[in-house]
């Protein structure tokens, strides 16, 4: 299991090299979140985080996923700081015996990171700066687990 909270970018290719290389791994899933510029007005996104709590909260979520889906490998990277359109924000990767476990664990991780990992996104556009509001749908997504 690997958890990293960092300002630097990550290389998906490097990160996935050697990921899940256990003889009982039959499926790996990776998810990458990117900065989207829907309106074409985004200057940058600022991601604030709660340093001490971040690592602990993510490690706890990752351990829960690893146990629940018997993952053979699990990885979470989340960035903070100033990001631009198209930049990678975060990624999760899961390895398991079968596809269903790998998919479910990755979705579980994402649903929890969305609403339970202490990060806050601010979008700075030509027209001003706004904190991204949490969506009810993201909170609701937790109910299925």
């Amino acid at each position: 299991m690997r958890v990293s909270v960092q300002s630097e970018d990550f290389d998906l290719a490097d990160v996935l090299k050697g990921f899940g290389k256990q003889p009982n791994t039959g499926a790996t899933v990776s998810f990458t979140g990117l900065v989207r510029d829907d309106t074409g007005t985004l200057d940058h996104m600022e991601i604030e985080h709660y340093p001490g709590m971040c690592d602990a909260a993510i490690a706890k979520i990752a351990e829960e996923a690893s146990a629940r889906w018997a993952l053979t490998d699990c990885l979470v990277i989340h960035r903070f700081g100033k990001l631009r359109s198209g930049d990678q924000i975060m990624m999760v990767a899961t390895a398991a015996r079968h596809r269903v476990e790998a998919f479910e664990a990755a979705e579980f991780l994402m649903d929890y990171l969305k609403s339970r990992a202490p990060f806050w996104k601010k979008e700075v556009t030509r027209d001003g700066a706004d904190w991204v509001a949490a969506k009810d749908a993201d909170e609701d997504a937790l109910n299925r687990w």
Partner: protein, 83 residues
């Protein structure tokens, strides 16, 4: 007792600082909020709608009625938007 109080995102912006150490005898998070609100309008503003706020005590998410006994760090912030 002395407690480190941390603010994030728009809570931090309304309070005007990311953290401060407060001397308090508050028994619960709610008591601490009431003490802070009584201080200055910027606290009153930041804590005006508790439903839009989340709280962590010693880096664990909790509720506003949580006890503060033994706590060293309390953080206030809006709902998280990670991922």
């Amino acid at each position: 007792m002395k407690i480190d109080v941390l603010y994030f995102a728009w809570v931090r912006e309304r309070i005007g600082e990311p953290r401060e150490t407060v001397e308090t005898s508050a028994a619960t998070v709610m008591d601490l909020v009431d003490e802070l609100k009584a201080r200055e309008p910027r606290y009153e503003l930041a804590f005006s709608d508790l439903k839009s706020l989340r709280v962590a005590v010693d880096q664990e998410l909790t509720e506003f009625d949580a006890p503060l006994e033994g706590a060293r760090e309390v953080a206030f912030f809006p709902p998280m938007t990670g991922g």
